[in-house]
Symmetry: C2
Amino acid sequence: MAPMPRARAIPAADRLTSSPLGDDLSFLLARANAMSVAEVNAALAEHGLKVRAFAVLAIVADDVRPSQRELADFLRLDPSQIVVLVDDLERRGLVERLPDPDDRRAKVVVATPAGERLAADARAAARAADDRTYAALTPAAREHLTGLLRRIAIDDVG
Amino acid sequence: MAPMPRARAIPAADRLTSSPLGDDLSFLLARANAMSVAEVNAALAEHGLKVRAFAVLAIVADDVRPSQRELADFLRLDPSQIVVLVDDLERRGLVERLPDPDDRRAKVVVATPAGERLAADARAAARAADDRTYAALTPAAREHLTGLLRRIAIDDVG
DNA sequence: TATTGTTATACTCTATAACTATA
DNA sequence: TATAGTTATAGAGTATAACAATA
């Protein structure tokens, strides 16, 4: 009788991807996100941005006029982190803090013209990065994925 | 003629979720992942684990017998980080490093009986956390999402 | 020469608490 | 009493380089 093949004969990658973790939603989400962040950060580097600063800039360049508190809630960052991000963007002349006439405690963050220009360039770079990250998906599958994630990340939350 | 309603009259959350970022795949992925990690970490805390250590333990408890290098590749962590994670798990008697007879440089990581028991408990806690994170999705939608993420995070990679 | 595991180091990200000015 | 922004600080996560043992 032939000896049992040793476990090591199966390629490591297959042993790992066929393990239960390879079907775990949270794990796949974490792994896909790590790939996405790496790709986007690389694309944003030439614009002097990273994902978090880009997220702030992209929002305010879209004329949302959020307070820092609103930015913190939406981006799931601590208000103190928003301070640091806005400080940096403001120092670079990309955003401004305006007093909120309705609440003198609050500051509304808006983009400067230079900020709007950089946001447009950065958005294009981020889109190109996304095309690489999600190359395995058809446009329809990408839209479906967007909808599913939106239900988890946005619609289901206050 | 009636004055234009001020932008501020629209609730902040709506202004933000309907901004372009609210449909950006990478952003939604990052946000969903942040929610998932927070939920899973909270659930794993009572077992003295966090997501990264749990991932290592879950793999080796599944009899994959990976080398540290294989763990690093699969988990997208630097080999030096695997050293730290395995050091901690080994100190707690949950895993062991065995010499690889085929390559005396490599060390195969395996779970101890205590590690297997903890992995089972932790897996149940993680599953419960996932049920909370993905509560907005039907089982069918969850499976669909798993398949889409798998194509991005696993199938599309070497 | 190249690779595995290891150590060391520095940098980024994240979480927490406390303070101020306003509400 | 509660909230918006700020400051400070510590911890977790991440990235990089160098080294010894082995391939």
